[in-house]
Every structure is written in structure tokens, then in C-alpha cells.
Symmetry: C2
Subunit: 410 residues, 2 copies
């Protein structure tokens, strides 16, 4: 197999993964930094000549196929990578669990009785199943980080808007970000460096790692302990002192990370979702899945007038979070507070609330700070994978990639 022509995917393994919406092969435009790598694309990112579903057959059927690839897809093809297919997204990408009533639940290869997480479910699944070296996804409230954590693969949500969103379906414009799931750190680093165009950036050395107390506190005990042990060992080997800080310490005001999610970020997300997907749903009355219908009920009863205070709070918190990050700072915490829930277990309000409430509390840190965050598959609890997350200041994507490479290779 030459580096430019990866082998076709095995149809049986594709079928077993449940990750694919379509299998095809888009050859690279030319040779480049990603020669020999294969990737999949989440089904809210355009591929010319193929309809985009947004995780919804109704959306798919009412929108023509785009003519052009999203810019992020073209960046990869122009760098030598081969696109091997489109992969499942949660319905309108508005979920963190990966159970799509229309397109199915992609396999969580390392914990087959458990959900893969979403909404970039097919991205994480296709990579964890060994069917792609990496996958393009999107992340607004954790949609790359959560499935990466639950499937035990690498994931990076870069700083907000660092990658072009041309050709990506609009979702939550102040929050949504294109990012990557990858099979190993080296692939993640190569692909992100290409997409972010960070080649000529200089970076400072890592000087401190700060453990985010609030995220540790909402995690299950075994996840918390595994995370503390892993980061403790890495820091000791690297000779870097660990610090701890609460969200209040970081932003310099009395506020928990949970309040940051509930009072600030979530309202911005809901409000923006109303403008993009909500307007389309009201105008088209498509068939909706049960879980989405339930979640969307909350959107419909949302008070936009009240959300203005949340908009202002998001902006203040963004500045405060980034003021905390002096040069060389990394903040570390469990990517998700739990391992993947069992399939079909998110069927009661209590279990949904527990999973979403604690998970979105955790993911709201980088969401509000517009931070680059890498979910590293370094933890294992009861045989199930969980990610350990590393976040850096807004726009310090190159530093984060370099610092994590150094930390892992010591």
C-alpha cells in the first residue's frame, strides 16, 4: 500500500461500526503533510456532491447536495489525506449521547455495551474502530470532547473559530468550532497543525499545570482518582508542580463552574440554536426523534429577553478566564465526569439530567473561555475509557499541542 492510496474499507467492519452514513473515497488533490492518512467527516460538514443530513433525514431531504467541500475538507485533501466517508452525527448535532433514532448508535469499540457519546459520534466511533486515522467533527458544548473521552480516542476542540466554518452547517455561531478526533497524539498534532496553520508560531515552555477543582468535584469518584493519579505521574516525570484552583479562583468572583454553564453558556447556546435550527424546525415541521423532541421542548419555552444577561456574563467570563492564563499555563481536568453510560440507559429524566448536567458543567469551561482543549485517552475506569483534558488560553493552540507533546514524551 503506497502512502497515497490507502486500502478500501472492509464492508463488514464498516457495517459493524454503525458509524458511517456513506462510504466513498475522495482522493487527495496532491501529496502533502498528511500523506497516507484516511479521514471521515461528520455529517454536518459539506462534501461536494453528497447531501448533508445534519443527523436528520428530514433536513437531508429538503436540502440539495452542496457543490463544494467545506474549506476544512479541502485543506485536508490538499495536504495528501484521503476522505473515506461521511459519518453519523446526532440529530441536528444537538446531543452528547450518540444515539440517533434515524441513523443508529455508532459502536463504542472499547466499551461495546455503552453509548459512544455525541454529537460527533460517528467521528469517534470510526476512529476507535480503526476505520479512519482521524475525523473532522464539530464541538459546541462538548461534541468532540465527549465522544473522544467515552470512546477512548484523542480529540481536540481548538480555540473558537480558529478553523474556517465555510461549508459547515450553522449551529451556534458564537460557540461552534470545527475540530478533530484522532487515533493517536502524533496524528492529532499533524492534522491540527495543518488545519490551524500554526507552522511558524513560536511557543513558550509549559510552566504550570492547574487542576480545575470544580470539574474534579463533579466527576465520579473513580474517574476523579484515575485523573489525579495520571496527571500526578505525568507532572512528576516532567518536574512540573501541580496547582489547584476553583472556578471562583480563576475568574476572580464567586461563581461555580456549574453556574457558569447554567447562567451563562447554556442560554447563549439555546438562543443561538433557536435562530439556526429552531427557525427551520418551526417552518418545516419535520419528523423529530423522541429525545430531540424532549430537548427541543425546553428550547421552545426559552425566554430570549432574560438571556441578555447571560450574553453579557459570557463576555465577562471569557475575559476573566483568559486573564488567569499567564504564559505557560495548562489547566487539567477529566474530560467527562463519567465513563460512557450503558446504551439505552438515558431513558429517564433523572439519568439524562445527571449525565448532561455534570458533563456540560465540565465542558463549559473551555466553551466559555473559547479555549483550545485536548481530550487525551489516558484514563481507564472499570475497563472503560475516559479522557483527561488539557486546556490552554484562547488562541494558544500551538502552545497546547507542543506542551502536551513534551509532557507525554518525557
Amino acid at each position: 500500500m503506497s502512502p497515497r492510496q490507502p486500502a478500501p474499507l472492509d464492508p463488514h467492519r464498516v457495517e459493524a461500526s454503525g458509524a458511517f452514513v456513506e462510504v466513498f473515497s475522495l482522493e487527495p488533490f496532491q501529496s502533502g503533510a498528511l500523506d497516507g492518512l484516511c479521514f471521515t467527516v461528520k455529517d454536518n460538514i459539506h462534501i461536494g456532491g453528497h447531501r448533508t443530513s445534519f443527523g436528520s433525514p428530514a433536513w437531508r431531504d429538503s436540502h440539495p447536495a452542496p457543490l463544494r467541500n467545506a474549506i476544512c475538507v479541502d485543506q485536508l485533501l490538499a495536504a495528501g489525506a484521503t476522505c473515506v466517508g461521511k459519518v453519523v452525527a446526532d440529530e441536528f448535532t444537538y446531543s452528547l449521547d450518540g444515539e440517533n433514532p434515524f441513523y443508529g448508535t455508532p459502536l463504542n469499540a472499547k466499551a461495546p455495551d455503552r453509548i459512544p457519546g455525541g454529537s460527533s459520534s460517528g467521528s469517534a466511533s470510526s476512529v476507535a474502530c480503526g476505520l479512519a486515522d482521524f475525523s473532522l467533527g464539530t464541538d459546541s458544548g462538548g461534541s468532540i470532547r465527549v465522544p473522544a473521552s467515552l470512546c477512548g480516542v484523542w480529540g481536540m476542540r481548538p480555540s473558537l473559530h480558529r478553523i474556517s466554518e465555510a461549508g459547515v452547517l450553522p449551529f451556534m455561531p458564537s460557540v461552534s468550532t470545527v475540530g478533530v478526533v484522532a487515533a493517536d497524539f502524533e496524528i492529532l498534532r499533524r492534522v491540527m497543525t495543518l488545519l490551524l496553520r500554526t507552522g511558524d508560531e513560536t511557543t513558550v515552555p509549559m510552566e504550570r499545570i492547574v487542576l480545575l477543582d470544580d470539574a474534579f468535584a463533579v466527576a465520579d469518584g473513580p474517574v476523579r482518582e484515575a485523573a489525579e493519579r495520571a496527571i500526578g505521574e505525568l507532572a512528576t516525570r516532567a518536574g512540573i508542580a501541580l496547582e489547584r484552583a476553583s472556578f471562583s479562583d480563576i475568574v476572580g468572583r464567586e461563581m461555580t463552574l456549574s453556574a457558569c454553564n447554567e447562567e451563562a453558556l447554556r442560554n447563549l447556546q439555546t438562543m443561538e440554536f433557536e435562530n439556526t435550527v429552531g427557525d427551520w424546525i418551526e417552518g418545516h415541521r419535520p419528523e423529530l426523534g423522541f429525545a430531540f423532541s424532549m430537548a427541543y421542548g425546553n428550547v421552545k419555552s426559552f425566554d430570549r429577553g432574560q438571556a441578555m444577561a447571560s450574553l453579557a456574563l459570557c463576555e465577562s467570563l471569557f475575559r476573566e478566564i483568559n486573564r488567569f492564563f499567564r504564559a505557560g499555563t495548562i489547566v487539567c481536568f477529566p474530560t467527562t465526569p463519567t465513563v460512557a453510560p450503558l446504551r439505552d440507559s438515558l431513558d429517564r429524566p433523572q439519568s439524562v439530567w445527571d449525565f448532561y448536567g455534570r458533563t456540560m458543567t465540565t465542558t463549559s469551561f473551555s466553551g466559555t473561555g473559547r479555549l483550545p482543549e485536548i481530550a487525551a485517552p489516558l484514563l481507564s475506569v472499570d475497563g472503560c475509557p475516559v479522557g483527561l483534558s488539557f486546556a490552554a488560553a484562547h488562541y494558544e493552540d500551538a502552545f497546547l499541542l507542543k506542551a502536551l507533546g513534551d509532557l507525554l514524551s518525557v
Copy 2:
């Protein structure tokens, strides 16, 4: 007239302005910081229950009316302002001249035989005609700054993505920004502070004003001289020393601002426009205006493979430009290199090329740097208005507003 209930617009003045697509009155949700102010909205920003045309009847007729207002509209209504109508945009907002073949050419009130500039033509016109205190617009390649300059009103393009784009038609996702045209600086400051939510930000004092040589060099002689005289007087009164720098000095490499536009920003803009508007046009074959058809011909022959180098260059230049801005720095230059061309004079390739080439060279500085820029109506050449621009570092919007307020009030 109470501050909450502005008088209805005079139909004769509305008609004479040619600026409006629809006249109506959206009452504020409540009293607030913008009590008593009236605003118009560019016709690529959603107002619930009213179709959005994007400057194209074909677009308007094939898209249902949005149900909800764009978030930026709701921010203003929630702060006490009244929306008095939708105003003309250039066809697909893809122009800087303000001559829309379907919706007409809004009046340039201070130079009635001249074009208003675009694509936020109706925004600048409605404010310059005294029919609104301010207007919401968008700016990707100068679409707020250019009409503000040519119509003699205030305009601000804030830092990229500082204002929510939910409910604004996608255009060039890595470049497009919501901003404001206003009748005076005090209104601009109040409205921008509200939209940007900068109330609690601390700012440093202005320490230096740097004249951008490349932008002065492409300006007509009288514009250049008027700009130098005006900034000279302001700086002297404020006791601030002026410096000069070429674009090469700023980015630390051999590159003109013209090359920045042609080799970097323009290709990113074209590529993103292909994904948003281009795809829709190819799929729907709508009736197109002559000038747009000509411009779009260049888009269709665009080589996306070659544009990858431009993407990388944009990212490097963004970092280099912002590295130049140490705390307290303002960069100053003429907003446009010319006064408004005469109406119907942009009918030969040479005149189009001259107007667009020099204008987009000038506007590419803040576009590439993702900088906040304020166009101040401080210059007059042969009785026609021209703007003087002030730009600050990315995200230093609050500093720019404060520094300019100080400079003008000394």
C-alpha cells in the same frame, strides 16, 4: 415625544432616501441604555416575521420569513431602542458601491450625485438622511466602513466575531462581522458598548498613534492631505506623538498592504463566499444583476487548491499584525482612498478596478488583523465626506472606543 416612543418616519423622507426595503416599528421590549434611539437593520440580518432578501429578490422569494430576530436585534430592543425598518443591502452583500439593480441606490445625503458605498448602503444612507440614529450592518471587506466613509457618518467594524452572528445570513464565516453605523460618536459608543458588552472592561491610556503608510500611499492626494492635517491637529491637541509605519514594518516581513489583500485576504473571502452564496446560486440559478454577474464570474473561475497558501498566510499575518500592537497603540489611516465616485460611474473595468483595488487594499488591514476599526467622518474633500479610520488590536474594542472619545474631547 417621550424617549420610549420616537415619532413615525416621514414617508416622503423615507421615499427620498431610497434606503428602505420596509418601514415598520418594532417597539423595545423594555427601557434601557438605548432609550429613545431609533435604528434600521441591514437586509441580511433577520427580523422575525419579515423576509430577508440578502439584497436579492430571488433569495427573498425562496426563503421563508424567519420567526425570530437575530440576537443583535434583540439586544437592541432589550436595551430600549426602536427598530424603524429594514434597509437596502447590495446584492448578496457582495459589493462596496451601493448600487443595487433590484432595490435601487440609497441616497448619499451629503453628496447626492454620488454613490453611498456598500454593501451596508441603506444603513449609512438611513443614518445620513436623519431617518435613524444608528443602523445594524455587517462588514466582511469594508461593508460598514466604506459606506460610513462615503456618506460622512460614523461606522465601526468591531473585532471579528465579537457580536453574535445568530440570525445573520452566513457570508464569509472567517471574515464577516456585525457592526454599526451611527449619527454621532456618542451614539456609536453607547450602541457598541451595549452590543459588545464591554461595560466592565478596564482599558489602558492611548500612548501612540501610528500612521499606516501603505493606506496613505494609495489614497488620492487631497484625501491624504486632509487625513494628515486632521490627525496632526488631533494628536497635537492631545499631546500624542505620531509615528509612521509601513505594512512591512508592522508585519516584520517584506510585504505591501496591497499584497496582503491580493495574496491573502481576498482568496479567503472568495473561497468562503463560494461555500455560502456560490453554492446557492449554482443550485438555484436566480436572476442576477449585471455587476454581480461580472464579479461572480471571477468567483467561478477561482482555484481552491491554490487558495490554501492564502489561508496559511492570513493566519500568519493576523499574528504578525497583532504582535505590532503593544498596549496603547492606535493605527490611523483614511478609511477609503477616495471620496464617493459619481453615481453610474463604475461602468468600465478600469474605474471598477481602481475603486475596488485601492479601497480593498485599505480595508484589508483590519480585515486581516481581525481588528476593531472606527471610521470617523472627520474629513472633507471638494465638499464630499471621507472617513478617518482608527484601528486597535484584536479584541481591544473597549480601548479603541475610550481612546477615540478622549482624542476627540481634548
